[in-house]
Point group: C2
Chain length 319, copies 2
Amino acid sequence: MQVLIIGGAGMIGRRLAARLLADGSLAGKRLNGLTLFDTVEPEAPRGADIPVRCRQGDLSEAGVAERLLASRPEVIFHLAAVVSGEAETDFDKGYRVNLDATRGLFEAVRASGLTPRVVFTSSIAVFGAPFPDPIPDDFHTTPLTSYGTQKAMGELLLADYSRREIFDGIGLRLPTIVVRPGKPNKAASSFFSGIIREPVAGLEAVCPVSPNLRHWMASPDAAVDFLVHAAGIDSARLRGRPNLTMPGLSITVGAMLAALGRVAGAEALQRVKMERDPFIEKIVSGWPSNFTAARARDLGFQADRNFDDIVRAHMAEVA
Amino acid sequence: MQVLIIGGAGMIGRRLAARLLADGSLAGKRLNGLTLFDTVEPEAPRGADIPVRCRQGDLSEAGVAERLLASRPEVIFHLAAVVSGEAETDFDKGYRVNLDATRGLFEAVRASGLTPRVVFTSSIAVFGAPFPDPIPDDFHTTPLTSYGTQKAMGELLLADYSRREIFDGIGLRLPTIVVRPGKPNKAASSFFSGIIREPVAGLEAVCPVSPNLRHWMASPDAAVDFLVHAAGIDSARLRGRPNLTMPGLSITVGAMLAALGRVAGAEALQRVKMERDPFIEKIVSGWPSNFTAARARDLGFQADRNFDDIVRAHMAEVA
């Protein structure tokens, strides 16, 4: 089986590629080839014993999606997106990449006559405050960002193309991924990873919100597990509603920091300075913090067990 | 104030135009001009004492939306759509008209620098079974048709463009409109009007479903009331969620027929033949039949009082 990862150079895409190559199979079938596509040239994973094609390009350009389908993938992971902050500052780019390129990919699949499983990463950003607690699976999508709007529109397309049997889609609303490796960025959510990653690396970090702030999180490993599990789910079990809120940990910043202290030690914890930033607090307070995720759990998607394990896994990775 | 009605030759558009000309004002402002646009040349309303421009064209063609904005409308009613049946049989046309032309209109408004009130007609087709009874305002949109998908996507765009203050949008999910004048058509919902309209006209009609089937309906007059009311609502009262399920009558086919007998007489009722059609019953059973419509009611939108009045109004109109 051929597999295509769009967004293959991203944090999740690279981990997914490594996982698929390690497993050697997906959805019960042997992997014969893997294509990684992104706006920057994806790095070829080391030690792959099957052919791995790395392709660079812009999915929103004419013909690009069509060429990607030449390998006749049976599973397509569509992870590529302009992130929340950029989609908010660059209105046109957000719609072009997150909506038009997604639709272009779906149209290319339609024209190809292939009927692959398409795993689409959506986001909890499709939801906007005010919320019930917890948020049930049948809660409406009223996004408060253009990014969330574009993801919600992608979900609707995915469901309609799947209903018409153009492909066999499943959409995963990912929690905020913590701990993201790398450097702090300007995203309002950056601190969720920063308050763990920086102290573990011996650096100071600023926590701009109250310790009581609660959020919905999953580790990078859990996200890759979701994607791999999604590829193998019998679509009849989705009962025509292929977009699922993924399970996560509903955890306060205070509990995250307590876990940091337990796992990484008191010195690490002392590197976190509490300096509340009303601007960031206002943005983050509009985000959802707790879901039932009942359908996804029934379908076998599993949240991280606890935040201590997330800190531990991050430390093992950077050690 | 200038007003633009896109879909001005349709059943609702013509009634709305006549209503606006009769009122002479909208949202507390005097009407100075009205533009009616449709794919067929709209008929000029009689006896208008303000200028009425009738324009024919295809909103999905480049430049058409831009030219329509030359009159600098303060209120735009966007009623135009490929209907449910056609959007299902012609996938490309449905997306081109219902999604792309809607987005093109929104983009033209963005480029114009105008910030009009945009009243967008959505539909209860954004919902798909299974449903709770009644359906609350925060129930998710999982459409079971391409038409419903396109309307749900239009709602998301409307909310995002409004949030960004590109315009001041409000979306109305209309119930099934009964009694539609004219001839029976191939829509699965055609019989809801037919079982009243045909007997009143002295013709036989077939009722293809059980008398116990319940559905969500509003009269043409109620729909026009919704549109006029929507044009004047203070957007602060929408609290960032500008898409509203309109109130309606949740009524069974049996109760509709009883009203027909009461208002139009026993002979009229006898012209309805009960001949169940499993194909139509299956489609219709996936449609929503009952909503709280609590937000819309709080905002002053009013359902028809009872079905007897709907039959009476239809009879008065065709008399």
